[in-house]
Symmetry: C2
Subunit: 453 residues, 2 copies
Amino acid sequence: MSTKKFLLEEKDIPSAWYNIIPDMPNKPLPLLNPKTKDPLKTEELFPIFAEELARQEMNVTDSWIAIPDEVRELYRIWRPTPLVRATGLEKALDTPAHIYFKNESVSPIGSHKLNSALAQAYYCKKEGVTNITTETGAGQWGAALSFAAKAFGLELAVYMVKVSYHQKPYRRSIMQTFGAEVIASPSMSTRAGKDIITRNPNYQGSLGTAISEAVELAMQTPNCKYTLGSALNHVMLHQTVIGLEAEKQMEMAGEYPDVVIACFGGGSNFSGISFPFLRHKLRENSAVRVVAAEPTSCPKLTRGEFQYDYGDEAGYTPLIPMFTLGHNFAPANIHAGGLRYHGSGAIVSQLMKDGLMEAVDIQQLDTFKAATIFARAEGIIPAPESSHAIAAAIQEAEAAKREGKKKVILFNLSGHGLIDMASYDRYFAGDLANYSVSDEELKQNFKELEKII
Amino acid sequence: MSTKKFLLEEKDIPSAWYNIIPDMPNKPLPLLNPKTKDPLKTEELFPIFAEELARQEMNVTDSWIAIPDEVRELYRIWRPTPLVRATGLEKALDTPAHIYFKNESVSPIGSHKLNSALAQAYYCKKEGVTNITTETGAGQWGAALSFAAKAFGLELAVYMVKVSYHQKPYRRSIMQTFGAEVIASPSMSTRAGKDIITRNPNYQGSLGTAISEAVELAMQTPNCKYTLGSALNHVMLHQTVIGLEAEKQMEMAGEYPDVVIACFGGGSNFSGISFPFLRHKLRENSAVRVVAAEPTSCPKLTRGEFQYDYGDEAGYTPLIPMFTLGHNFAPANIHAGGLRYHGSGAIVSQLMKDGLMEAVDIQQLDTFKAATIFARAEGIIPAPESSHAIAAAIQEAEAAKREGKKKVILFNLSGHGLIDMASYDRYFAGDLANYSVSDEELKQNFKELEKII
């Protein structure tokens, strides 16, 4: 086993985020007001989001948005993150491919989510907000935002998807240690939560429901805004620090990726690593492929429909033009809680529609198999979410071996799995299963979708 | 909140470990053969340890031992580790002190233990060993060795102290994910384990007992050696990469520590951070103070007796001249499982005896209070073991504030606590207690001790 790390200096932390929209051949369709179904105006987002975040969300003209000094200063806690040549993994696979990963797991909360959490907390604080709310799936976003809220002196309430609340009690504890309030969702604390509990008392929650609850609480609390960890344009924007660093680091390595891979929930780490490389494709027609790896049990990119849909289960959010499984899709209780989201955000969906990116679906058992190979080869236990990217990278490396081709693969290690060991236990005990979605269920959901617009 | 990180480059990873013994005014007394009570010869250690490790253990002449390239290559996975100025903590405490911490929690397994694990696995492999055994308390050492064993293709069996096996199931899972076999100790798989279970069926284990079991298994298995994570001289040696890096980083910061602090179990992270600074004291009479922070419930340095004692409960190991509570001392079930060891190793004990270092004891509730202040100020949730160092650093900072003095404090953050969140839950729920040891119990143990020699 050996390792090659490519390290940047603190001065190399990007000074601006990259906004891909100006480079897109077809811009995303507009968000729609959920009541009037008219294109949404920026001001209409102000009641929910900090104004600057709303402006970033709607910005289709500026390719670069300066990162505030206060945010960049906090990025220095753990950024720049290493780019690693996974020579151990290459050897384990006996592949001619060169495999690199960007190690976002080194952040103090263990994932890439802090990149956007600090930005969102900063703008809220700057605008005089005192309280924020959010949802979290596996708890990576909630943990990141808990730290960010504490760093900027904000009070935070987190709705955590019930299945993860029970599967991942340590992430709940982390949020509480940072001083956040954590509520299992669906809960009786909101109308959206009550409604779904009444209909389905045993429902284990979804990101869609947790978003409804967090939005509702924000709207009903003075001086309170809602924040979220994925799917929306401004979140993608903040995450591009990942790919901008990786771009420089691949140069240091003297290689350029043939394929860039990330797991896909709402698109935050996927966009973060891939958009700066997609920019080469859009501007200079580079041949780079970008691949999103999603769970077979929640296959919005591979089997979803491109449609206007709500971002949440109760229908509080704007209508978003996206590949979706329907906002009341109830995903299986897989351990990659961060990937259990029905939709895929406006930018990624447009890129998918335009054939500028690809998607693959990965079964749960394959993700844990890949995770174990990676852990033993590289010494890092990956989060179940990130293991989807590893499994897809292994598929690419195995294809390179079959074809006898050199291939440069870059994937994002979005987070470590030290808090997810219970899922590894279940995997080794043979207690985990694969899950697929029936055509019947999807057809039913798509019929519902068509009623929206 | 802001942060100042002092980063070295990979070329700054030390190329040699520092052996403090040649600089000590009084050398440690010799280890004794447990049967003959004669001074131990190096060869007598060969049946238990890799030969090179045995030679390092007995080396009293060479100040510097070259780090093999293969080990240094693997150090590059996460080393050099950052030195951080804890400006958030300084602000939270409103202290004139400057507080620095060396962040060993960034290793892929979350603690400093990998520094020695890789070295020990390397020498075993090099000498043709195929199987290794060890003990682990909280599981930090076991997790590190599991990865190191996998990296060098060795089979590993880990005896994990029963209380930690149940308190920290995730660390057990980590070891299993890396392919190690993990056995709760005391177990029925060894004579030492059977003996103690027979005497005390509910005994929750101690490091002393787990060591007995691991040594016994190694002695009875062909081509198998025993390894351990603390207390012995060669482990201290390997850990000095911590302090050697910190020395350069304090120079980068333009300061020199008035006091260097680390938590204390068997002494591995304590020696690692402090010996390179103690060298300045021994060679150039610098005024640096070094302080070991131990649990009040396991107070070998503050209340133990300097005596020859066994390193394990069953009496299989050589007799070690050390501050000890007696090898059958049964520590309270505190959550800092890595600090539940009865003895303190030969070098540290001699330094303590000669007044070249200090020790403080910290109660469990104070460690969790300190951990919470630190987490909220610096964004990193510390391991319960490391929280002893944080609590001691806070005491030093508060003293500086009372005295209105500037003071430079350096402590070692030996590991993160992401796997220890259950203990934080119990702390916040008010379920944790303080523990002290009665004079009666100590007196009884010391009487037993005197029978040994």
